[in-house]
Symmetry: D2
Subunit: 136 residues, 4 copies
């Protein structure tokens, strides 16, 4: 398992008139966490698109345990629970400044070769970086 | 079961550099569909907040079958599969202009009394409007 | 001068914790108004990109006279004040349900040929559609 | 004059199908820059709302010199050009990773007392923090 943490501060425009972060904005927080988790591994997601591979989302699930508020500095724990092959799964737990779990979720993405628009395997450079975290 | 349809046209700002609707924007489409489904029933969601009840999201799930593209006029079928009590569940199926299913999802919301911030039952006015759709 | 009207209903996620539409979301309303103004003229903006021309924004200005609220059905008057050549200017006035002016703004865009990334003239099909509105 | 810098990394969902940051998202970058400029001064914007004062936007202007791209780490120079009284003005210059100016803008906000919904003067705590930057 590969697991890292990243931080996000809630923007004003991400709240809604209920006074909390709008439920649709968590998907963007998840995206930031995914990208930062890969960056900490030594891989920039943008390189993926530069070598002709897209990683669209297949499935996304969120549970909203408590509200997130404006200006809070949230901590997102993101993990890749299993070695990706054709698909890649990310799990998230978001904590507020009082260290309470406010949101949990998971996203499944699929590797697509832009040239053919067909699914493909995770590129070797990513395999090399992730494998050490999944050896028995 | 209560089921209605609503239409949404994809905005430019809702696409991302992959050329498709960003996965996080479907939550906003779901919200529009929920609100329009209640409006067609004869109830404006904003009245709910005016009588001191909030309806925050507890859980949201999405499956992305095909991409949605800029300027497409999407059809959202939204249904309330069971008579709500403390919680309210909505299911969605989104179709593109070629009538292909591109996205499906569901959202569970909970009635909260603003004054106490405690869960409460669905207000009577909504019960009266929804009940006819759930009689045996 | 070419002038049309379009309507937009405020979405929940577009409000912020002040209880009004977040100031950054007007740019998206302007975009919808621009696209609908062209559609009413007989031209789909997406065709522009399909023939290899992009129309990025050069400048945008907004004045916020009164707040827009959740679920309000806003009326946007959009006009093209002068015949476009290399650039295209749009002006907007947004009115709430009580017909009060709540926002005014203008956007200047520029025609760019994707192949060369250089500015180009407005395509002939658009000239033909717009010219009747700018004859003396 | 009070001037500080802040950094923002472009999120995937902030790009559009042109492959650049959507023009409407700069307002959110400006907001982050405003809030961080006050934080570096020793004042959290959220305290303002906690003491019953709102700071809605009156006017916003943006010039788009060059596109911002996905994953770029942007530098935002934000300045308060004159000592605020009833209104508060912020100016911005956004630079990309190659230190090129890509966007400039300004926003004027107004202090409003929530209880009366009338304009009011900037609170004393902010005056005290800002004054040293505006002495001759």
């Amino acid at each position: 398992m590969y697991e890292v943490q990243t931080k996000i501060r809630v923007r004003y425009g991400e709240t809604d008139q209920m006074g909390y972060v709008y439920y649709g904005n968590y998907a963007s927080y998840y995206e930031v966490a995914r990208v930062e988790s890969l960056r900490q591994l030594g891989f920039a997601y943008r390189e993926l698109e530069e070598i002709g591979i897209m990683l669209p989302v297949l499935e996304n699930k969120s549970k909203y345990h408590k509200p997130a508020k404006y200006d809070e500095l949230l901590t997102i724990k993101v993990c890749i629970p299993e070695m990706p092959a054709l698909k890649m799964k990310f799990c998230y737990q978001i904590f507020n400044e009082e260290n309470l779990l406010i949101n949990s979720g998971e996203t499944t993405l699929v590797f697509i070769k832009k040239a053919t628009m067909k699914p493909c395997r995770m590129p070797k450079v990513m395999i090399g970086l992730l494998e050490p975290y999944f050896v028995a």
